[in-house]
Each structure stands twice: as structure tokens, then as C-alpha cells.
Symmetry: C2
Subunit: 240 residues, 2 copies
């Protein structure tokens, strides 16, 4: 964190250097990214991302949208960039990135969003995305369940302060749960480690990854977690 001298901020473990939360998903048919936070360009360069066919948003907080314009490189190749978001998040995107949504005759290299308001499950290639509405403090954000064929592969819940039982049941037994676990101490808009473990206990995923980790939590904390429960880190790759 800027201006911080805590043990995690001074850590030698490169995994303790964290950029904003996001995931990139490659499938045989297409590739897409969930959220374009402020670090999107840095992350795309680091991972040598060559293809983005769509972007899916969880919500419109700055740490999840401010890198949106850097999609221009992928939009330009395709002619436009399909954008999937809830009605509320799309309204915010339209306000913040007005120049992109309203441009009638932009330069060819400009981002040209193609908005898709999400109101239920949808397909990206052969991957089905099911929105998981969850509270994030006083607001509601969209987690997503990623399903291919009959496999519930990933539930991505990066920002949430609770998981209602209805949602937990929908993703029960998912292969991989990626869930908010900010720190040990409770926070008004994010799950704590204890709360995330309680949620995982209800969902019973094959494996759990904590994300949206604050600097109060070192990567080394992982060894104190139960089996099949890890702390995600920048650049982590998972195969299904």
C-alpha cells in the first residue's frame, strides 16, 4: 500500500506485491476478462495477453473498472468489445467512460464498447456465466458461476460482505471457489478470513482461493488455512 512500512508491504515474497483483483479466462472458443481494474494494462503486459473477446463486470468500483479504456487494443482488433454488466454497473460505465459509449466517429484505435446488460445466465462461447448477486456493504454486486457442460467449474465472488444461503446452494460443491477474504479483522464491505471460511464450509468446494487480500494478510498466512484453501496471488494460473 502507498506509504506503508508494514511487514507485508516490505515483504520479500513477490506474491505479497498485489495489483487489483481480476481474472482472465481462456477457453478453446474464446477468451474473456472479469473486471478491468486500474492495473489492467500492467496485468495484460505481464501475462502477455493477446486476446480478449469480451469483458464481464462484477461492479463499478474504481478498482474494478478504471482500466477499461486499455481494452482498446483488443476492441480495435475485433472491431468492438462486448461488455457484460448489470444494468446498474452499465449505467456507471456509460457515465465514467462516456467518450467511449457515446463516440459516433472515433479514431480507429478507440475503444468501441458493445453493451450487453446482464439479467440472467448467458453464454460466452460454450461457457455459461450465471450472475450471483451478493451484498458488498450497502450495494449489490455480481459474482459469477462459470459452468461448462455439467461441470460447475468456478464461482468468482471477489467483493462481498455476505453470501446468502440461496447463492451458497446454487454454487454448492463447485470445483473452485474464488472468494473475498480481505483480512482477519471484520470490514463493512468485505468478508474476513473467518467469514470466508464459514462460507466455504457451507459451499464445500473442491478447492478455495482467497482473493481481494489486503496488506494485513501475508501470502505466508496460507499455511494457517485448512486443506484445499489457498491465498491467490498475481499471475496464478489454474487449469480445468
Amino acid at each position: 500500500m502507498i506509504g506503508c512500512d508494514c511487514a507485508v508491504c516490505r515483504s520479500d515474497d513477490p506474491r505479497d506485491k498485489r495489483l487489483r483483483s481480476s481474472i482472465y479466462i481462456q477457453t478453446p472458443e474464446m477468451a474473456f476478462v472479469v473486471d478491468t481494474g486500474t492495473d489492467f494494462r500492467t496485468q495484460a503486459l505481464r501475462e502477455n495477453i493477446r486476446r480478449v473477446d469480451a469483458v464481464v463486470f462484477t461492479h463499478s468500483h474504481t478498482d474494478h473498472i478504471m482500466g477499461f479504456d486499455d481494452l482498446r487494443r483488443f476492441s480495435w482488433k475485433r472491431g468492438s468489445m462486448p461488455v457484460y454488466a448489470s444494468a446498474e454497473t452499465m449505467t456507471d460505465l456509460r457515465r465514467v467512460f462516456k467518450f467511449a459509449f457515446e463516440a459516433t466517429n472515433p479514431f480507429p484505435g478507440y475503444l468501441k464498447p458493445e453493451p450487453h446488460v446482464v439479467s440472467g445466465s448467458f453464454l460466452l462461447g460454450k461457457t455459461q456465466l450465471t450472475p450471483l448477486p451478493v451484498p458488498h456493504g450497502d450495494s449489490e454486486v455480481s459474482g459469477y458461476l462459470f459452468t461448462r457442460g455439467d461441470r460447475n467449474l468456478i464461482a468468482y465472488l471477489s467483493d462481498c460482505s455476505a453470501i446468502p444461503d440461496k447463492i451458497a446452494q446454487k454454487i454448492s460443491g463447485v470445483e473452485c471457489l474464488i472468494i473475498d477474504a480481505l483480512r482477519e479483522k471484520p470490514h463493512p464491505t468485505h468478508l474476513s478470513v473467518g467469514q470466508a471460511l464459514e462460507v466455504a464450509g457451507r459451499i464445500k468446494p473442491a478447492q478455495t482461493y482467497f482473493t481481494h487480500i489486503a496488506h494485513e494478510l501475508a501470502q505466508a498466512y496460507e499455511k494457517r488455512l485448512p486443506p484445499r484453501t489457498r491465498i491467490a496471488y498475481d499471475g496464478l494460473r489454474l487449469r480445468f
Copy 2:
């Protein structure tokens, strides 16, 4: 650049790895930053920035404002963050960062902007900033002249497609000209190398630094430039 294999993007010269344009100014009385582009957090961490007493904006394009929220760390320490921008840029900042400008009871760590609409010269400590309105394609942006006592120290013109004679006269003989020089090939909204050299020929600064460099221009290009003309790079420090 994302997805590019050109010689500069693959260069081994670390100075060819460029983040968004911005400058940070430390004076005996205070410290301030000009623009908070998308990379502001990364830049603040890299340079171990511990103090920001004000932010000054040139214009509201994404590469100059999208890191604004990361000022929260400095705003929180001070109680608020003085923001200097033209009326037009302030309107855009209020639209994009609505949550910060309109928040009535935010969490203590939230960014609390204190807007100052710039309509002429103003002081930050003992440094006088004089806005330099210049065309940037079809829009007008604010460069700034930084003066202390009787010394015209820096003219910062990061984004411009022309420098009107009236502006060139105002900054004539400035100690350091930092000026847009995107690439060799002309561009509708940025100066080319040839145009920037022509401008420098009119202004006759003691030294010139090119900024807002595109990936068409390697750092090594510097050796082809006239005396006292350099290409700025990330992390460059100048003393006056």
C-alpha cells in the same frame, strides 16, 4: 504496448518500459503531482512517495485521471485533497469520480477532494503555477508554467498538438521545457518529434525533455536529438 512485438516493446532498455505521463514536484514547503493517470499507484509505490499536498490536472483523458482514487492515502492523512483543474476538467472529474465528490459521509479512508477551479495563476506554497492553454486535437488542455521567485523553472506541456505563439512567448527561455513528442509520424492530437523541435526552437529553453512518447520512439533515439534535448523516462529526477 499490449500485444505488440515491435523493437521498442521488446527492448532490453528499462527506460523503454513506459507508464502514463505525470510529474511529481517536491518543494521545501509542499509536494504535489500533476495528473493521476491509470498508473498513479504503481508510480507512487515505485518512487516511495510519502506526501502529496495537492493534485493539478492538465485535462481529463483517461491516461491522466484514472488513478485519482489512489490519492486516498494522501487525502486521508491531510483530511482532504486540494484538486486544481480547469472548469471543464473539474466537471469531468466530478462526473467520473462522483462517489468522491458527492460523498457526504464516506469511510475515513475515502478520497475527499477539495476542488479549486483554475482560471489564472495560483500558488502552491511558493511555487506559482500559470496555466498554459494549448490545443490537444479538437480540445484544449492546460499545460503549466512553474515559477519560483524570478525563475521560470519548468513549462510542462505533456499533451498538445500545437503551441500558439502567445504561449511560446510566455514561456520563452524557460529553464526546462517538458513537451509532448509522441513519435516521428504526425498525429492529430500530439506533437511529432519534428514539431516539438520546432516549438523548442521558438521557446529556446535551457533544456528540453520530450514526454508522452509512443512505442514508435526508443529511448536510444535520444542520440539523434540536438544538444540539451533529451527523452524523459519513468523515474527521471530533475533538480532546480
